[in-house]
Symmetry: C2
Subunit: 153 residues, 2 copies
DNA sequence: ACTGAAATAAGTACTCC
DNA sequence: GGAGTACTTATTTCAGT
């Protein structure tokens, strides 16, 4: 699954993660190469799935999404049918930004972005009405210390 | 802090979040407008900070980052000096993708992406050697069910 | 694989409505 | 505030090394 990447590829990825709006010329200059090889490598990395997509990152506060919760979920149900329904709900709800199935004591963790605590409660009520959940702990974020999409390459 | 956005602004944000590589013409067509207003609105939203930046999203697996941990941290220290050092450490470490200060029982939550469990342990040892921490629980992700940068607009 | 240049397409700015 | 258009700049392709 891990792609073969050389130093030049990695330098290009650093630049694209920092700012995907830079022109090819600019990226080429920064990584010490020229347009064509940079372009060919970007194309190859897109084909290989190393570069998934290019997106605009928005400021949650500006959109009025001022509350962020991490939700720890324990469940008693582990049947295929229950899980399918649960996962479907998570994928469909736009306020769920992340969802992971965990090893150990806690079964799932979610990251949920909403307008305020009331909106979280609405989400929570909807979630537990759709699927049976044994135990839920919501952790309220007071301060986003760091949030980056930049992976170390 | 919340910006005033109309329907057209929101439609543009939907498109930019879905795929920031689309041309202005394409976005204009999809949102039912023309180049000039779309361009002016994008520029305005960048100035206002609604659009933070544009970035390439990479596939963690392709980069060999196969392990993801959520780290719950309790601390006995709440002095300004300790906190400054702790936050500095988190911001400097590229494997820490997210860090939030929480309300309640648990003080901090981190999202950490590393190559494997051994790499996590290296990170953990480095962290606790730099700052005094009362209690740490690491939750290992078995499966990334959902991970999106798309905010509901 | 990289260089350089040519062809195509997109971004930017201006005028008019 | 939006449409149309002219101008500038970037992306993409291709021949040559």
């Amino acid at each position: 699954m891990a792609a073969q990447l050389d130093d030049l590829d990695r330098k290009i990825l650093v630049e694209l993660q920092a700012d995907a709006e830079q022109s090819l010329d600019e990226i080429a200059r920064k990584v010490g190469s020229s347009k064509t090889p940079v372009w060919n490598r970007i194309r190859r990395m897109k084909e290989q799935g190393v570069i998934t997509r290019q997106t605009a990152i928005l400021d949650a506060e500006s959109l009025g999404l001022e509350a962020c919760f991490f939700v720890l979920i324990r469940t008693s149900e582990h049947e295929a049918d229950w899980q399918r329904k649960f996962l479907k709900t998570l994928r469909e709800r736009p306020e769920v930004l992340e969802a992971h199935r965990l090893a150990g004591d806690i079964d799932y963790i979610l990251k949920v972005r909403v307008k305020n605590a009331r909106a979280y409660d609405t989400f929570y009520q909807a979630l537990i009405s759709e699927v049976k959940i044994y135990n839920v702990t919501a952790l309220l974020s007071m301060e986003e210390i760091k949030a980056t999409t930049v992976l170390p390459v």
